[in-house]
């Protein structure tokens, strides 16, 4: 969804769109518009429908040579399932718009793409109900659309948190960014034992696992007050969540769950695993806030995926900060933006 990619240029763009929308009469049946992981529409007295779309463009979002078609099919669906999970919703239906060059069409690309897509879709009972196909001059482009459902008013928004709540994250961070780094640097392994680790990290990038079950649990039991998926990077996405909730946040640097393979892989190098965990994107973990009194109701894990308390929400005026030992620093958002040079 739109705000996942937003900072600077894109963020201004979204603000512009929101402004445009505000100047129009809010249509009946619309519960929530632009600016969350997914849009929410009121489809009946009992339920809301959430809908998200994610555009993946070759040489921007993926490199064809490094992305086997089945993994690309998986990832295309995964990024949208992650948006649905971040709304605390149950994914139900998917559509795929697929643009492929003629030469690719003649290969088994499309078959394998759908093998990967259905492998993930079937796991969560998501039905492919439509889509579009088009030729393209040279690059593959994929638009993934997923619709989900929540009980009426049950969607978890980015804007629902208040100061004095705990901040949690599912799983471990930095793996997808490390995987991308390894893919772009094409190997460069220093020792044989790294090969397996490198493969695991590359799969974190190429085959992300959306936290559908966690999202559902947090939504259904109304445990999360706000939620977002980590697609741009923890620092960026925390920024989005805090901005929408009009709060600040204090993160304990030592609590951030860095993927152990990242720490291991980059031991004795200048690469800082915590930096990758904070600013590398595409981990597709969930970042969410919980009222302190609800902490005991949180399970320790769901289907093998753990959660970690990484900090607390604060007043907006305190900004977003991170502790390193005794030092406290402002946490800058380094996430990914398509249109802003850093």
């Amino acid at each position: 969804m739109i705000l996942n990619l937003c900072m600077g240029g894109e963020f201004d763009f979204i603000r512009g769109l929101r402004e445009k929308r505000r100047r129009r009469a809010t249509p009946a049946g619309l519960a929530l518009g632009i600016g969350d992981d997914a849009a929410v529409i009121r489809s009946s007295q009992a339920r809301d429908t959430v809908v998200t779309t994610d555009l993946l463009v070759e040489d921007v979002d993926f490199v064809r040579a490094a992305s086997p078609p089945a993994l690309l099919g998986h990832k295309s669906l995964a990024v949208s399932l992650s948006d649905i999970a971040a709304m605390g919703a149950r994914p139900r239906w998917a559509l795929i718009s697929l643009g492929v060059p003629r030469a690719v069409w003649r290969t088994n690309f499309v078959d394998q793409f759908y093998e990967g897509f259905f492998g993930l879709a079937d796991r969560y009972g998501v039905a492919l109900i439509g889509g579009d196909v088009s030729g393209t001059p040279d690059r593959i482009v994929i638009d993934s659309i997923v619709l989900g459902e929540t009980p009426r008013g049950g969607a978890i928004r980015r804007s629902g948190s208040k100061p004095g709540e705990y901040i949690y994250v599912t799983g471990a961070l930095g793996g997808a960014a490390a995987g991308l780094k390894i893919i772009l640097e094409k190997g460069g392994l220093r020792k044989r034992s790294s090969a397996r680790m490198a493969r695991g990290l590359k799969l974190r990038q190429l085959r992300p696992e959306p936290r559908v079950d966690w999202g559902l649990l947090l939504g259904e039991q109304r445990l999360a007050t706000s939620m977002i998926d980590i697609s741009d990077g923890l620092s960026s996405d925390l920024g989005h969540l805090c901005r929408e909730s009009r709060i600040g946040g204090l993160i304990q640097g030592t609590s951030v769950p860095v993927d152990s393979r990242v720490t291991e892989f980059y031991r004795d190098t200048t690469v800082d695993p915590l930096s990758l965990a904070l600013s590398g994107g595409e981990d597709f973990e969930l970042l969410f806030t919980v009222r302190k009194r609800n902490m005991p109701r949180l399970p320790t894990e769901v289907n093998g995926v753990t959660i970690t308390k990484i900090g607390e929400t604060t007043a907006e005026t305190e900004g977003i900060r991170i502790t390193y030992g005794k030092r406290v620093k402002k946490l800058a958002a380094w996430g990914f933006d398509h249109f802003k040079d850093r």
Copy 2:
């Protein structure tokens, strides 16, 4: 939606997808899957939601130099509204995934694109509720998603017709194909008086008018037994409708409403206006079938758009035919297919 572009290569692809889906358990809440203008999901006891997606790729679906951004914004929404209209549904919500090169992002392209988009959206009370933005290496790509609503079970499918019904089409045909021809041939006007006509025809290509009001009327009053929008061309789309309804069709060649500007513009040339009307695509008129006894209930026009009876449905074994004076010919489907050489 997916079948709009389907013949040969793409059509085989859709059949493959359908087959894949059939082998899976039909999920609860799914009323109708792949293979119509839009997918239908049962969202409540009272209503169904229809959803469609259309991918537009630069240099395949449009030429940037010939497509002012506002017209592109209009057309992106129009093609999806046309799909919703073809289901007899009321359009409600839209999402847009927009991929643009950095250089284009820096211009007023996006602003103007949305001006055109909102111009059409507001006319039909459609709310933009989300989307995605991405950079692309060099070409613009747009995926347009529209959701609409019908009373439960009220969607008009391609498959609902039987032999012995009348076949109707809204508006006039061939204008969009003539417009494309003029754009691609860059002028070549033989006389001054043609300039205005050429502009009108180009606008039929660049600024199609979806027949939303007709679609709604035919759906709400249950007048159409089957319906499709003419995006590939009358002959192709009639083929899709007949295939889904398992019927044949007999078209009166002299009844096909050819855009009068096409006839005028190509007078004394070798270009055959009827050919453009039959096989040129993107007119985005509605093609539908009506039981003979319901004919008197049809209005003659809706908001200035007329309809024309062009033939009758027949048994499937009779195939799809067209009369030219006393001759009867098989009507071949010449429509647009991205992946089939003709």
